[in-house]
Amino acid sequence: MPLDYPVVRHTLANGLRVVVSPDHSIPTVTVNLWVNVGSRHEVPGRTGFAHLFEHLMFQGSRNVASGDHFALLMAAGGRLNATTWFDRTNYFETLPTGALDLALWLEADRHGHLLDAVNQANLDNQRDVVKEEKRQRYDNVPYGNALRDLYATVFPEDHPYHHPTIGSMADLDAATVEDVHAFFRAHYGPDNTVLSLVGDITPEDAIARVDRFFGDLPAIGHVARPTLPQLAPLTEPERHTVVGAVPNDRLYLGFRLPVERDPQFLAAALAIEALAGLSMSRMVRRLVRGEQSATSVQGHTMGFVDGVSLGLLAIDVAEGVDPDRVEEAVLEELRGFATRGATDAELEAALAGAERGWLSDLAAQDQRADALSHQALLHDDPDYVNRFLDDLSAVTAEEVAAAAQAWLAPGSRGVVAYLTGEEDVA
């Protein structure tokens, strides 16, 4: 079923890529910017910096006082935020159409003229806030650092995805105002940014408004380094065990996968869904409802662009069950899947679930804008939001089995085991 969300593209003279998708169902518009910088661009000793920098984007710019970005947009009926991930940083607000100029003005001011307002006090304050974010979301949470450990287990030490977006306390402490200036100059500019508008606007008017507010920002002459070559699967299992204060034993199995637009990526994602992502997935059926050796099994795929993606399984081991036995059962299922492939029912359910999920993702203007920016910035192809489901449903059972053979072999797993016990680290 081809989707038909309108997608209009335009590039300003300074290189800013603009995507517009009119939707007049409600009198609001979403402004969504993706900047082509994330934790994968960070240098040793400055992990977590892209995210810390994102916080500083709310602390004032040439014509905007600290805190006013939030205050002005919220008073105008805007909902807004920003997030940082491996491959990008995004900034977004959804607001009544009559406040669009205000949003574009505020975004242009900080994306063009942030450094006028950056100072040591702002940096120190937001460094403290980010350190509390790290404690709240990772350090003070059971299993909170498991994904950090999984990235480090599955990806090589010098790889851009080896470290998590939140970074380390030591590196956050080391960040300086000079770093902020250098980072802004290197990465923030119209020719390294996509701006999407979705909502109650026409393409002509939207593009004219964006040009009015962003047209005078100078290009920074950004030249992206070529992405890294595809990483091959691990050639032997890697393992990291943490023993400590967790409520139950939990296993994470990670696998290197093809990059997000590789033809095998979707097949690998469907394989993980069929194996572990559904209630009827064979691992759930066997471990949770059959043997009852696990209380939950989950499967996820994270698509990246820089030489590798990540597939992962997470298994909560039932009380009193040997985690090694559970892991062996998981490996048996991986071997069986690679040999015989998905059943028709598993594949049908994986596709049906993905269709519902994708349509739900596009149901709100703000998420639709985010999807357009994603495909425009990372793949120069925003219209892919309309084609994704067609690509997914074209994947054959043979391709799913082949992807599992190539990428989900037991010998290619990286395991992070969080086990109950007294010691801190074994």
């Binding site: 997608v7 593209r9 590039t11 003279a13 169902s25 409600i26 009198p27 040439r62 014509n63 600290s66 205050a71 919220m74 008073a75 105008a76 009926g77 909902r79 607001l95 009544p96 009559g98 100029d101 205000l102 574009l104 003005w105 460094r127 403290d128 509390e132 974010e133 404690r135 709240q136 350090d139 949470v141 059971p142 393409p203 002509e204 593009i207 004219a208 040009d211 009015r212 047209g215 204060a245 409520p247 139950n248 559904l278 209630s279 009827m280 949770v288 409802r289 209380t295 039932a318 009380e319 029912a345 049908e348 359910a349 049906a352 269709e355 519902r356 349509l359 739900s360 149901a363 709100a364």
Partner: protein
């Protein structure tokens, strides 16, 4: 495709500059009105047509009170809810799961203090199949013995996971401290180790037979309903749900009472914790309050609803003590709470708590006109996007049903907001906030217990995690 930009009427690049553009205020907006009907078995039907929403959201609300659970069987209602899609008289667990997932149907069921809610997301073309399966799950669940035992063990594991999670642990301690111990609300909705461990299939079957019936229940269907005969689809499915033998009583609208010694400080000790998770709370209203719930929505925003709100302006943006704390009035079906929640690093626990209590006390002196206007404008003007999806509309509609409010409530509440004054906000706040709090801190109590006592903010006790 790339369009040629038209610049007619627009200023030339470079003229945006220093001048902040004006904002044109939006017009009045209203929450969608449902088409309503009622089936012979008593089930009410609310259909919200939202063009362009191709994943439909279905909620079935069955009013029941967790107060109806036997004291030594608490959690049986939640267990019953979690078992609804684990097999029916016609289909085994695996078969039922396949029937749902091969059609892309996401099925969930949960309990709140006011009722059972089944929630379903389904691509439009499979609505009929989804309603058939919802009917099957509600009317003829088989509660297989094996799955009952499994979900009891899963709940026991979940209790340990919640104990390990600081926000969950704090909320459990808050309920136990704030509510009178005779109240069901003082204990976890999904039950404790003592009450869940012994639950059997017979308990679940009995609870379901007594409390789950269409008589006083409601189905909400939201999404793009063009070309969908909702009345026929519901009649052909849930229309076959047999009414209960006796009219099912509406849960009462009496608020759970606070404990006589609710106003105190409890430190839950987790040695080595790098943060302190806090809850500061007192009584609040439910959404039937007169005058008017709209004031409490705005006060929540002004006190603790954004990085610029009173709490985070100090604790986050000035002091850097927290990633963010939130204050909000949280209505229950009857009565409610006013809670401020969040975490700070261990070293500043006492300073943060003292500052927070001061900020909450200062708010009793009044709110400014700017705060009032900004809060009202934020809540009114974000409404169209907050309620834009089928999922959001269905959630709001189901919440109104659970609380016994009419489907016009959301719009009338937004309209009432437009007339609020700073004095009305202050009066609303002062009506419930008297400066005497139940305070829970989950963290390394040894690092700050003595200094918390020295604050003189009330009796302090320390309990184990």
């Amino acid at each position: 495709m790339t369009s040629a930009a038209q610049h007619d009427g627009a200023e030339a690049p470079g003229t945006a500059g220093e001048t902040r553009p004006p904002v044109t205020p939006p017009g009045r907006w209203t929450f969608p009105e449902p088409a309503t009907s009622r089936l012979a078995n008593g089930l009410s039907v609310l259909a919200y047509d939202i063009p362009g929403q191709y994943v439909l959201s279905v909620r079935v609300v069955v009013p029941l009170s967790t107060r109806a659970e036997p004291r030594d069987r608490e959690g049986v209602a939640t267990l019953m809810a979690r078992l609804l899609d684990e097999g029916t008289e016609a289909h085994s667990t695996d078969e039922f799961t396949e029937l749902l997932e091969r059609r892309g149907i996401d099925f969930g069921a949960g309990l709140s203090e006011a009722g059972l809610t089944v929630h379903v997301e389904v691509p439009k073309r499979n609505l009929g199949a989804a309603l058939d399966l919802v009917h099957e799950a509600l009317a003829t669940p088989s509660f297989p013995d094996r799955e009952v035992g499994r979900l009891v063990r899963t709940r026991l594991a979940e209790i340990e996971q919640e104990r390990a999670s600081a926000p969950h642990r704090a909320m459990r301690e808050f309920a136990a401290t704030y509510f009178d111990p005779a109240e069901r609300a003082s204990r976890p909705t999904a039950g404790t180790v003592e009450t869940v461990s012994g639950l059997t299939r017979a308990d679940v079957v009995a609870f379901h037979a007594t409390h789950v019936a269409p008589n006083a229940s409601t189905v909400v269907i939201a999404g793009d309903l063009a070309g969908v005969d909702v009345a026929a689809a519901v009649a052909d499915s849930l229309g076959g749900w047999a009414p209960g033998p006796v009219p099912v009583a509406e849960p009462s609208r009496s608020a759970a009472r606070a404990a006589a010694d609710a106003r105190r400080i409890v430190l839950v000790d987790r040695p080595g914790s790098v943060q302190s998770e806090m809850i500061v709370g007192c009584a609040g209203p439910d959404r039937h309050v007169d005058p008017t719930w709209s004031a409490y929505s705005v006060v929540s925003f002004v006190v603790g609803g954004s990085p610029n709100a009173r709490v985070d302006a100090v604790l986050r943006e000035d002091k850097g003590y927290t990633y963010g704390m939130r204050s909000a009035f949280r209505p229950r079906r009857a009565g409610g709470l006013f809670l401020t929640t969040g975490s700070v690093r261990t070293e500043v626990t006492v300073e943060a708590l003292d500052l927070l209590l001061g900020i909450l006390a200062d708010a009793r002196d009044g709110f400014t006109a700017v705060e009032c206007t900004n809060g009202v404008d934020f809540l009114r003007n974000t409404a169209p996007s907050r309620y834009a999806t089928a999922d959001a509309v269905a959630d709001e509609a189901a919440g109104l049903v659970l609380d016994g409010l009419p489907s016009t409530f959301t719009t009338s509440n937004l309209d009432a907001m437009a007339t609020l004054t700073p004095e009305a906000l202050t009066a609303a706040y002062d009506r419930f906030v008297d400066g005497r709090w139940t305070v829970i801190v989950v963290g390394d109590a040894g690092a700050y217990a003595d200094r918390v006592r020295a604050l003189g903010r009330g009796p302090v006790s320390v309990v184990a995690n």
